[in-house]
Structure formats: structure tokens, C-alpha cells
Amino acid sequence: MIAQKQTQVTKDLANKKVLVIREFDAPLDQVWEAWTQSELLDLWWAPKPWKAETKSMDFREGGTWLYCMVGPDGPGSWCRADFQTIIPHKSFTGLDAFCDESGNLNKDFPVMHWQVDFSKTGAGTKVRVEITYSSVADLEKILELGFEEGFTSALGNLDELLASTPK
């Protein structure tokens, strides 16, 4: 059994950015495929118990990936990713938003900008995801949405933060 790699989540608060970094025990071209081919994305993109189901995928600059997050109680929300720049086997950027079945944007939900970078490491591949929220209001909305999702979470970081803040 392979030990699970650790996911680093850091925040760049001043710039409304969240950074997610993780290493994978696989060659770069396979990791790239898993991030850019919808048959593979459908297998992992949605966090349990949801499943991503692709309606259409056009992975090129200016193209769109339209998919649905299907939960245990049936279809949930539709999402679209619009690809802006693609440098094969190196990086891609795009916008991620909520929409309806036909891809019409749902303006009640925030749009996020993504940049995903891939790099070779000794044993595998490192993926760096930078998510930028376009406005202050969006970040607040994401904050509110987060609670509704109701994922289990561990509190207690507050104590840590307070302990590490200069007195």
C-alpha cells in the first residue's frame, strides 16, 4: 500500500487566492491526462459522495467542459469550466462557474479563476492549483456556501492561530 501524499492548502489572503499543492506517484503525462480528459475526470473530480458526469468536453483554448455534479439524491448542480490558456503537459488556466444544463451561467454563484501547473519530481508529478476569487463578495459567498455543503470539519485551528500570533 502506498502512503497517502499530503495535500497542502495555503491561502494568500491579501490576493484572494487559495493554493493547493499535491504530489502524485505517476508520470507527468498520465497526471496531465487525468486532469484534461473527461472520461478520467469523471472518475475523480467530484468529491464523494458526488460524481461528476460530463455532458461535453472541448479541451482547447476557448473550449468548455460542461458537467453535472450528481449526488446520492440525483442530479445536483451543473458546472462549466472555460479553458483560457493551455500549454500541453505544463499548465492550463480557465474559469470555473455554476450554470444550468445548457451551460447558461448562474450569476448567483461566484466565478473562480484557475491555474493548474504540472511539474516533474524525482518520483512522480507535482500539481499546483491556484484558485483566485474575482471579488471580495465572491469570497464571502463561497464562505457561506461552504457551510451549506456541511462537510465534516475539524475546528481547533483557532487556538493554534492565536498561539502563533505575536503578542
Binding site: I2, Q4, K5, T7, V9, K11, L13, A14, K16, V18, V20, R22, F24, D25, A26, Q30, V31, E33, A34, L40, L43, W44, W45, A46, P47, K48, V136, A137, L139, E140, I142, L143, G146, F147, E149, F151, T152, S153, A154, L155, N157, L158, L161, L162, T165, P166, K167
Partner: protein, 106 residues
Amino acid sequence: MRRDPFRGIADPTRRAILSLIALQAMTPNALAEHFDSSRQAISKHIKILTECNLVKQEYSGREIYYHFNAKKMQEIDKWLEQLRAVWENRFTQLDKVLKNLKTKKS
């Protein structure tokens, strides 16, 4: 005006202010004594923290006291924890996908 709480804690002086008033509520004067910055600079930070809902002002007689709004702070931590949980979950599944790809190709 509502403000992004993330911006509130982005600044080191504001984090120091929060850690002070988390221990006990303070008047503007008592708070300013802990810093070398001008009183004006501190009150500007307080204004931002109030707008972010991280600090609450309460009157006690004629004095204003700044209180730490721990609930808002927990929201930030909770949000980041949830985000981490979502990504961990995704990536564990991606590990499996990659493992299968490898087996298929070798």
C-alpha cells in the same frame, strides 16, 4: 459595509490586534499602548476589522470596548478545513485513477 474577512487577517498588525483583544476586550487607548504605530493607524486597522465583522464594538458607560468576534474567525478556519477535505477526497480518488492507468499501460 461588508468586507472580506480574509482581508481582515491578512495584515500582521491586525492579527496582533485580534490576538490581544481575544484575551480581553480593550478600549482604543489600552490597545494603542501595545503598538508603536500611531493611534490613527491603529484605529484604521480597527475600522477594517469591524467591517469584516471580526471585531465588535460595545459601549460600557462612556468607553468603547473592542471585542473579538470568535465566531467569524471560526468561519474562516471551517471554510479552509472544508476546502482541504474536498481536495483530499478528490486526490485520493485521483490516486486510484492514476494507479489504474499505470497498470493498464505497463
